[in-house]
Point group: C2
Chain length 212, copies 2
Amino acid sequence: MSQKSYISNSVIRRLPRYYRFMGELQKEGTAKISSAELSVRMKLTASQIRQDLNCFGGFGQQGYGYNVAELRREIGDIIGVERRVGTILLGAGNLGRAITTYFDFPKYGCELIGIFDADPKLENTEIAGVSVSSMLKLRTFCEQKSPEIAVLCIPKESAGVVSKVLVGCGVKAFWNFTHYDINLHFDDIIVENVHLGDSLLTLAYNVNNTNK
Amino acid sequence: MSQKSYISNSVIRRLPRYYRFMGELQKEGTAKISSAELSVRMKLTASQIRQDLNCFGGFGQQGYGYNVAELRREIGDIIGVERRVGTILLGAGNLGRAITTYFDFPKYGCELIGIFDADPKLENTEIAGVSVSSMLKLRTFCEQKSPEIAVLCIPKESAGVVSKVLVGCGVKAFWNFTHYDINLHFDDIIVENVHLGDSLLTLAYNVNNTNK
């Protein structure tokens, strides 16, 4: 499989969706699908789908369509789903607990190997089988276990200091639930922001400004 | 204030971010800010900022900049932050509980007026002061209270049926945490998808495909 060297961000953002749709088709027992059928299902044009998948080396055969299981496996390989990237979560409040409990990290290519919180009362408690450690142990833990991803569920006010420590310890990517704009402060760091507040405000705007 | 009749989706998506930044500036005691200063802070060009805000009627004065409190209030008005849109949450599992507990709905222009779950054991329990009702009471509740927004935290398998009922009851917008693609099934419905799984997969892709 030969990937193009530059792949646009919007193509990358669609990749998990292809992966998800292929999983659903597999569950339904569909063995192959044409780009035309897939386009109806995903509300993308068939040519868009062909273009997207061509960025990753192309998987389809003219006149046959895509082999669902194979396409899913190959997209999974590209994403690195089997790799289990070492991941730590910072902040064991409501949101942090929910993400730990609700989220099946290995399904998304990650392994949650540690949780850290500033509250000493939480130390050594467990959430979904993962033990909570004191923030004071963060540096040592990172030196020993080299996590690559940090999930930030801490208050915005602590996010600046904590992200600086984490970058210093070699963390290279953030799943950022805080409203702290990490990417304004570090250049080479990978950030996925989940700005739930912005998302709900956008919804409120659209509700209040549609059919006026 | 005269809004343009067509405002692009990307401008709308930046609006909550302006609102948030104005709130921070206000907290810091900043009374006015130039588009140049704001551009450094938000990593947008000054001309982009002027263009964005012009879509909503323009707020700045040449040579003076923006009055922070006023801009925040006006953006808040445009979003409809004070309107408190009636909102219900479906699915009181880990994710639904977390969102209810963690999320200050009124801050985002919404009021959580009901929670519904299929599990009869949860009926009449409370989460963050809101009582959980049986799914069987959903229709009657909607007829009486006319919620406009539904937060979907239910399993994907139920999302098709439940969203159809909700649309039938007059719900016009979804904050959708499931992987069910609501907008593939309804045309006039407003949807904000929070696809946490897709977001984490995108992060994993970027971690696994950067500096290779």
